[in-house]
Symmetry: C2
Subunit: 403 residues, 2 copies
């Protein structure tokens, strides 16, 4: 398996586009994206568990009940959530696109991201649709831009792998930044692949993988109303369709996981206001659930996040966050290290502080990617969670988001 370029257009038969259609006032920012497969694809999706759900999610669920989809349309600038006519707008969007593409409206996945509770007009969609469709091509980068909100970098990744002697490709794009604390569901991620795989196995692969990828990311502890991850598989790589577990399914899972982990790191590292990606690796836990809870508790702690911003080796806050994770761990066995390109430093052993060089600690923590390495010395399970530091800019961005 190797990483390649091309994002959601890497896989055979997929094209994309992104334009400014007028949902946002800023005319230089693309606000409407499209991903299109030349044939109907199998589809799998997971959604936010927030009780308040964006209207587009409701419509998408209805559309892909049969496990098939051919296009994804997504706007930024307005979440189309808590709006009286939300579903109507989302359905109209699909109808407009279906007509322009000459496909079935029920084969369209629709998504929105932006402010909640702001009325949405169909006008910009109507005006922009011809341009959006006419510009379809090898434009994953335009689609990436169109779904960005407060993201500062476009997030895209693709891999190629072999199944059954055929080269398959799988690529994804993501929108991250704020309101990110997925729970049994995810942020906005669109993945395409030309690998032939049944909807059933595609669903199985996605639902299993997100438990150790997107569900282990937190930017701010807020689980969004509009999160979804969608995978389209159009089968154009012409491998024998994967319909059961086995070597081929494992290869596909491995490719999916590589793409998802890469997107997780991009999303966490580009969290609202973030200056650093924090990766918390927990090892030697009694079981996986404990490893997951402990790592997530650490990356969610506002105090740990603030210390990371200040490059302060305040490991006591890490112990504190482990302590309130409600997990059965033996505090007196815990070791903590900080690891980065700047080096590696042990700061806590058997739950107690050890003497360490503050100078080296600073050097390690001044890097842009920090690993908090926690050894529970209590078993064999491991888990990794991804987060970011808490900065002035997070407060700035969110103190005045609507204006």
């Amino acid at each position: 398996m190797e990483f390649i370029s091309g994002g959601v257009c890497a896989a055979k038969g997929f094209s994309a586009n992104g334009i400014h259609c007028g949902i946002r006032k800023n005319r230089t920012k693309r606000d409407l994206s499209l991903i299109y497969s030349e044939c109907v694809a199998n589809v799998a999706a997971v959604y936010t568990t927030n009780l308040v759900k964006g209207a587009p999610l409701v419509v998408t669920k209805r559309h892909i009940q049969n496990g098939k989809a051919q296009a994804v349309i997504c706007n930024s600038g307005n979440a189309n959530t808590c709006n009286a006519n939300g579903e109507q707008i989302a359905e109209q969007t699909c109808s407009l696109l279906a007509k322009e593409l000459n496909i079935d409206s029920n084969d369209i996945v629709v998504a929105s991201t932006g402010v909640i509770g702001q009325e949405m007009s169909i006008k910009p969609f109507k005006a922009g649709m011809p341009q959006l469709v006419n510009g379809l091509g090898d434009n994953s980068n335009f689609a990436e831009e169109g779904i960005m909100t407060t993201d500062t970098i476009a997030k895209s990744v693709a891999v190629s792998f072999e199944i059954d002697g055929k080269v398959c490709k799988l690529g994804g794009i993501a929108k991250g930044s704020g309101m990110i604390h997925p729970d049994m569901a995810t942020m906005l991620v669109f993945i395409t692949t030309d690998c032939a795989i049944s909807s059933e196995m595609l669903n199985k692969a996605l639902k299993s993988d997100i438990q150790s990828t997107f569900n282990m990311v937190s930017v701010d502890g807020d689980t969004s109303t509009n999160d979804m991850v969608v995978v389209l598989a159009n089968g154009l790589a012409q491998n024998k369709e994967i319909t059961k577990e086995g070597k081929e399914f494992d290869t596909f899972m491995c490719a999916l996981n590589s793409v998802n982990v890469a997107l997780c790191k991009m999303i966490a590292g580009d969290g609202e206001g973030a200056t650093k990606l924090i990766e918390c690796k927990v090892k030697c836990a009694k079981n996986e659930e404990i490893a997951k809870k402990v790592s997530k508790s650490v990356i969610c702690s506002s105090l740990v996040k603030s210390a990371m911003f200040g490059s302060d080796a305040n490991w006591g806050r890490i112990l504190c966050a482990i302590g309130y994770s409600k997990c059965d761990v033996d505090v007196n066995k815990i070791d903590v290290k900080f690891i980065s390109k700047g080096g590696e430093i042990l700061v806590c052993q058997n739950g107690l502080g050890v003497e360490f060089s503050e100078e080296l600690a600073k050097k390690v923590l001044l890097e842009r990617e920090i690993i908090i390495d926690i050894n529970l010395n209590d078993g064999k399970a491991t888990a990794t969670a991804w987060g970011c530091d808490l900065t002035y800019d997070y407060v700035k961005i969110n103190g005045d988001y609507r204006t």
Copy 2:
């Protein structure tokens, strides 16, 4: 019942002091506090549920097993947590004080607050003990200062009430600020009363009251390692001792609740970096558990907190926080209002936005105390949670706490 001055010295037979003994480098900051009762008092305490526990908590639990105590000693500047000799230091502190006061070392409650995992020396305690004891008097204010860390205001409150024809008094002091998200336990709060009440009923009163007071406060979602609330009742008001439920117990509960609610508001309003106290009132919930979870979810949301800092009426984030609280609520019935001295404004009705004056919303939200009033229109239960806004200063304070 009326509010009075005097803090922990309001009740008969209690005196207090606070000095700088040298635990902190800043010589103008008091770092050691003492509360003393002229006779042995009944005592009740609740502690943090964090698995990592400060050494002083372990020692205190041992000392007050018999339900009796006569003094409370507390230092700031070092949490005495994750230290190899932590318990030894805490016991030595009690011995030194017992000798100076000529009381039993087992009748002493000991507490610490500050940095976790930093070695602690007994020397400053030894040096300061005579001065600490000699200065005992009507000095609740000195004791308040001695337990402060990043607090910007001293937190103290007292009430007087009548039981059985006798005037009783009950007063408390608190340390708040950061690492505040109590869970079945609390922050550092010391309460004194001259009301005669058995240890058993005192325990019952405290354990019941904190469920709707301190456990409903969150500054940053971090549950500290050193939290405790202690109540000393020395009986000098000479009312007939309260030994069972009934009118007298209710009167006592009411006084305790008034003091605790006042301290909660002070702690939340003076959260690290906070510029505003946020009170989230949930009413008409199906049951109390839902009311509590919803109100706490809202005040814990980083996005809601940031919006409050920016005086931005971004109610969609409130709906979002209700939605991920995992409670059985009907989203389509939710009304949301903002209320303050600046006025009252309805921003969401039946889960949908309503037109409102942005000008009035700004006026309401620019105040220092904001009520987020949520009506679930689904039953009769209510709950209130207290939090604060998320500001640049929270990040500043915690990005570089140790230095």
